[in-house]
Amino acid sequence: MAVFGRPRPVGNTFELYAWIFMRLSGLALLFLALGHLFIMHLLGDETGFGVDRVTYEFVLGRWTGDLGLFWRLWDGSLLYLAMLHGLNGLRTVIDDYVHTPTLHGFFTFLLLAFAMAFLGIGTITILLFSPPT
């Protein structure tokens, strides 16, 4: 099924897409992380001011309230974008400084395992969290 009217690009375009991802996720993170900072550390209400009012109940209320889906989406995007953005940065550091193939493979694997573990824990929490009855 030929969808594109031109031959497939030659060579590896991974770095190209990684570069675009860094730019776009960086832009999104500016908004997501600033918003997160604002909500968690600056905004105040009757229960307290800034980070003082952030308790288990606060997060519970956010995630299970009327806007629960919105906050879970927000925290999920923050988790995925920040994690992948940061780890891709680390990957380029490894590419730059580790030239021994074995060590390079080892560190990249470590990074990948780290990413999978944390993204896994985060995903399970965000998707399956339900208020205690």
Partner: protein, 311 residues
């Protein structure tokens, strides 16, 4: 004035490690560092080895590390450096002797980007014409003299010697944006690798080092952009357009920040209306106004992307 000159000497055939040669040289403030090196070689120590050819800043032979920065020895004056001058060979290349380094890897990368006109179209009867505006597009990168000052100032190159380096990208830029050339896709394919433009971390040492004042980092980013917006690498599905996608991202960001800033302003106003002291909410008071300039900037950048996509 008397100049204390320190030169990093090394003869790999005889010596195990480099050593500092120290020389006292009588100099005029208007003398160039090259004149000092000549004085040492001609009158004090004939074994000092260096490269130089035209001695007027155009052949690119005598780039070296002078007081910690890559410069041309024939272009930098003693009065701009003071009475203590330290000269080392360029970093990242094998030293052949003293200030002379092995430039072959550098020129191999230069050849890899095919730095010559590629155009298989039948030759026109007269010359291939070009408007001043088309010429202006790559004017800056025509100034390169291949001295390697930029490449050997680049930390990405020091860390990964396989990196093609700023100089080769500048040379590619000179032809990619030439309206008479048809080899852009070939060159972009060479540069679209991890050892190509994607090893550039935008450190801007290259721009600082360039003795010809080329905006090297800008040229590299223009090449990155050419790859990102080229149909060769990112197929256009159903009218998907990278430029418009970037524009949309910027506009969304702008609107988001404006909404956030607006909401904060509302919070502050609400607080004041309820009789509160605005300085209770010092965080909001600082953050709200400081969000407006980046929001407006992002909005303008988004609009700019759209205008460019339209043209």
């Amino acid at each position: 004035m008397e100049v204390a000159l320190k030169i990093l000497r090394f003869n790999p055939e005889r010596e195990r490690r480099p050593w500092w040669g120290e020389y006292k040289v009588e100099a005029d403030p208007g003398d160039r560092v090259l004149d000092l090196l000549h004085t040492v070689k001609w009158h004090q120590d004939g074994t000092l080895t260096l490269r130089r050819s035209c001695a007027h800043g155009i052949c690119g032979s005598d780039a070296m590390l002078i007081n910690g920065l890559n410069r041309l020895a024939c272009k930098v004056l003693v009065r701009d450096l003071g009475p203590q001058i330290v000269v080392e060979p360029m970093r990242g290349f094998r030293v052949l002797k003293d200030l002379v380094v092995d430039m072959e890897p550098f020129f191999a990368k230069y050849r890899a980007v095919r730095p010559y006109l590629i155009n298989d179209e039948p030759e026109p009867r007269k010359e291939r014409r070009q408007s001043p505006k088309q010429r202006e597009r790559f004017e800056d990168t025509t100034k390169c003299i291949l001295c390697a000052a930029c490449t050997t100032a680049c930390p990405s190159f020091w860390a990964a010697p396989d990196f093609i380096g700023p100089a080769a990208i500048v040379q590619a830029h000179r032809f990619i944006f030439d309206s008479r050339d048809r080899g852009a896709a070939e060159r972009l394919a060479v540069l679209n690798q991890s050892e190509g433009v994607w090893s550039c971390r935008t450190i801007v040492n290259c721009t600082i080092a360039c003795p010809r004042d080329i905006a090297v980092t800008q040229a590299i980013n223009e090449v990155k952009r050419a790859i990102v917006t080229s149909e060769e690498f990112i197929p256009k599905w159903r009218g998907f357009d990278m430029q418009r996608a970037i524009g949309t991202a910027f506009l969304t960001l702008s609107l988001g920040m404006l909404a956030l800033a607006g909401f904060m302003t509302f919070q502050i106003a609400n607080h004041i209306l309820q009789g509160g002291n605005p300085f209770d909410q010092i965080g909001l008071l600082i953050l709200a106004p400081s969000l407006f300039p980046p929001a407006i900037l992002a909005g303008l950048m988004g609009l700019y992307e759209f205008i460019k996509a339209e043209r």
